[in-house]
């Protein structure tokens, strides 16, 4: 069963009340220090979540000259080099934008952030007039991976490519020159890396509603391998409305903005897993979470333990394994008789199913019909428990009532 060790609502002073129903919270923790980000704030606690200090993503780090802060923050803590990693996306200025990778030591009390700025043209000079959007980050033994879509800055601003940067953690920790490799594809949208990678990074996107395209990138290689893996067909389309929908008890739709991009991946115990939100299909009358577990040696599908319910929707999963290789998860559920609720859990290796526990339910659905676009699960620095960054809507239905939440949970053997 799941034991909730902490469930902390970040106060308005932690966010300067700059919250959004597109919450996008992310988190990393080093011992008692927690760094938490979201739209449109960052906040730090040095006493294990008892108190929080607002950190403005707008100007705590001086913005690049090309444009101010936008959104899409991602936080990681790398225990092996004892560094916090903070990724920020800046506004597109008509010709480019910046994705910033900022670093500070895990035990730093002196606010000693340092950072590198990437534009698409910094990665490849041929990619002028493109801008980054929707990043995520993951670690292997020796590298940080930061991926992002790019879009054209001209015309209809069409999607151009997905770029995955690979940077040595030693370079990042040493505050010197930063070498990087990159992988780019103009065929595959919104790739997602696994959490828990060791000597090989795995990442994936949808080749179709029947095929998962899985990439592998060995730490010692410049080359990326790819395989298409057949999965049970899923649906990206609601047969009635086309898009995603899930009405709360107050008739507010919390999934109108949702889509099927992969939001979660893990590698542990020789298994690669990926998860995404899929639309209703057949007997599953609400959007739900598809899961695919793959043998990392044979690349055969092991099982597909989806997360679904006959009465309400599940959406926006994120996962990460702890040091034992046990996989923790955070996600939302809502719709039907439930307002959007934060849920945590783990994958049960015995039953091959998910143990889930509802943490807290919102009091309202979002008036602006917006939620997401991602939440975050990380392992705690104790190596055993997991931490999650989520949010709820409490006391009203506008963005002013969004409450970011830091949770910590662990798996407890049933007696």
């Amino acid at each position: 069963m799941i034991s909730i060790l902490q469930n902390i609502a970040l106060p308005p002073t932690a966010t300067f009340s700059q919250t959004s129903s597109v919450g996008e919270p992310s988190v990393g923790s080093s011992a008692g220090r927690i760094f938490f980000s979201g739209n449109w704030y960052a906040s730090e606690s040095t006493d294990n979540g008892q108190t929080w200090s607002f950190i403005s993503p707008v100007n705590h780090l001086p913005p690049p000259s090309s444009g101010g802060f936008c959104c899409d923050q991602t936080v990681l803590y790398d225990k092996s080099r004892n560094i916090f990693i903070w990724v920020l996306q800046y506004i597109e200025n008509g010709t480019e934008n910046v994705m910033r990778i900022a670093i500070k030591k895990g035990n730093d009390d002196n606010d000693a952030w340092y950072w590198w700025d990437f534009t698409p043209a910094d990665v490849n000079s041929a990619w002028s007039n493109e801008w980054f959007d929707y990043n995520h980050a993951a670690l292997s033994d020796n590298f940080l991976y930061v991926g992002s879509n790019t879009f054209s800055t001209v015309g209809s601003q069409s999607w151009k490519r997905y770029v995955l940067l690979r940077m040595p953690l030693d370079d990042l920790a040493q505050n010197g020159n930063l070498n990087f490799n990159f992988f780019q594809t103009t065929n595959d949208f919104s790739l997602r890396c696994v959490q828990g990678a060791t000597s090989t990074m795995y990442f994936a996107s949808h080749a179709s509603t029947r095929k998962l395209r899985v990439f592998s990138w060995d730490e010692s290689s410049d080359q990326v391998q790819q395989r298409d893996i057949t999965v049970t067909r899923w649906s990206d389309v609601d047969p009635s409305t086309g898009g995603y929908t899930s009405k709360c008890p107050d008739n507010k739709d919390w999934l109108a903005r949702c889509d099927s991009r992969i939001t979660a991946g893990w590698f542990a115990k020789g298994v690669i897993g990926f998860m995404w939100t899929t639309n209703r299909k057949g007997s599953r009358q609400h959007p739900h979470v598809r899961t695919v577990r793959i043998n990392a040696s044979t690349f055969k599908v092991l099982s597909q333990p989806d997360i679904w319910n006959v009465d309400y929707a599940y959406a926006y999963p994120d996962v990460t394994p702890n040091d034992n290789g046990d996989v923790g998860i955070v996600l939302f559920r809502g719709g039907g008789n439930k307002f959007p609720s934060l849920v945590a859990g783990n994958f049960n290796e015995s039953t091959k199913r998910w143990n889930l526990k509802a943490i807290i339910q919102s009091t309202h659905g979002p008036a602006d019909k917006k939620w997401g676009d991602y939440i975050t699960c990380r392992k705690h620095s104790d190596g055993k428990s997991w931490i999650g960054a989520g949010f709820t809507l409490e006391g009203g239905n506008t963005r002013d009532f969004i409450v970011p939440r830091y949770v910590r949970f662990e798996m407890v053997p049933t007696s």
Binding site: I2, F69, Y114, Y134, W159, F182, S190, D306, R399
Partner: protein, 80 residues
């Protein structure tokens, strides 16, 4: 700067030393956002994000040769 190999879709590059807070002027004021503007921008971003490649629905194309496990997973329990 980077070099790209189009055939294998990989490349490499290098950035110089990072900037840090000791070398740049800092504002003493908290960063205030125009939340309405950012909200509107998020909506525009989402529309653009959906302009990635369409996900092909393969059911009608009969590509069902390979059976995979998990077709009939039961509903997921969630402790309240």
């Amino acid at each position: 700067m980077a070099n790209e190999s189009e055939d294998n879709k990989t490349g490499k590059g290098k950035l110089g030393k990072p900037k840090d807070l000791s070398k740049v002027p800092r504002s003493p004021l908290p960063g205030i956002l125009d939340q309405d503007a950012l909200d509107a921008k998020q909506d525009r971003l989402r529309i653009r994000r959906k302009k990635g490649p369409e996900i092909e629905d393969t059911e009608e194309r009969g590509l069902f040769e390979e059976e995979v496990p998990g077709e009939e997973e039961p509903p997921t329990d969630c402790e309240d």
